[in-house]
């Protein structure tokens, strides 16, 4: 059973590499029961969206 601290590690790594099957399963199991980590996942994924948007805005010369 993953701890929340371990789950955040995997959620961060999921942004950078394909998780293995057992990693994925234990993560999904944890997320199904943990609201905090589910929010954490959404927030980490928002960080990526924000960075993409940031770079796009600079490239397009938008203020």
């Amino acid at each position: 059973m993953l701890s929340c601290r371990q789950a955040t590690r995997l959620l961060s790594e999921a942004q950078d590499r394909k998780l293995g099957l057992s990693e994925k399963l234990s993560l999904e199991l944890h997320l199904a029961m943990c609201k905090g980590c589910t929010n954490y996942r959404a927030q980490v994924s928002f960080l990526r969206d924000a960075c993409r948007r940031y770079v796009a805005d600079v490239r397009e010369g938008r203020e």
Binding site: S3, C4, R5, Q6, T8, R9, S12, E13, Q15, D16, R17, K35, G36, C37, N39, Y40, A42, Q43, V44, F46, L47, R48, D49, A50, C51, R52, R53, Y54, V55, D57, V58, R59, E60, G61, E63
Partner: protein, 227 residues
């Protein structure tokens, strides 16, 4: 701010036989039609390139140099592009590669065993979010951010976002920006900075936690006392 780049652009135009402002001779249409021959386009392009370079490098003089080099390379090696957007994308790619080369040349970032006080501080703040059993402490459990997409269209959000990025320790921010702004794969980052994959993961996790907490505190759930 130096005007070297304008001079450089003019020299390049002269070499291309496109000296048309002085009216001494007419430039061939193909040379003349390049957006790089237009001051307005160059000024706007340079502004955007500088913003991008400053963001990554956190050093204005260095950013100026990198942009200068990228523009010089573009002016010398100019190919024909279908439109300004494609040309701009190409020059951004030149700048991006120069920044990556710079990071590669400037060597290793800190390894996990030699944390700076700032990095150690971030790690401590992160550990403090958890109880002894490694589950979220009650006050620290991440709460929903509502509709964060809404934030992306607000100008003030980007001021906070910028401040939070700048608040990250330099080497942490570097790895994060290589991943998220230069869009390198972690394997490429490890290779460029001579760090292990494990180290890279630790640094990215640290950066994301730092940014997440900073945005949470300063944008998504501000303290009532905030002005």
């Amino acid at each position: 701010m130096g005007e070297r780049w304008v001079v450089l652009a003019r020299i390049s135009r002269y070499n291309a036989g496109a000296l048309n402002h002085a009216g001494s001779h007419e430039a061939p249409m193909s040379q003349d039609s390049s957006p790089l021959m237009e001051d307005d386009f160059l000024v706007a392009l340079r502004r955007d390139l500088l913003k991008f370079a400053r963001l990554q490098l956190r050093n204005d003089a260095l950013a100026e140099d990198m942009v200068q080099e990228a523009l010089a390379a573009a002016l010398v090696g100019e190919r024909s592009f279908a439109g300004r957007a494609a040309l701009k994308t190409w020059i951004f790619a030149i700048l991006r590669n120069k920044i990556v080369d710079h990071f590669r040349a400037s060597g290793r970032v800190t390894n996990v065993s030699a944390l700076s006080p700032e990095e150690a501080g971030l790690d401590q703040a992160f550990e403090a979010l958890f109880k002894a059993n490694e589950h979220w402490a009650r006050d620290a459990r991440p709460a929903p951010w509502g509709d964060p997409e809404e934030a992306l269209i607000q100008q003030r959000f980007w001021v906070v976002f910028d401040a939070c990025l700048n608040h990250l320790p330099a080497s942490t921010a570097r790895v994060f920006m290589m991943r998220e702004f230069l869009e390198l794969e972690t394997a490429e980052i490890c290779q460029a900075l001579e760090i292990t994959a494990g180290n890279c993961n630790v640094i990215l996790h640290r950066a994301r936690n730092g940014l997440r907490r900073c945005l949470d505190k300063n944008w998504f759930s501000p303290e009532p006392s905030r002005c």
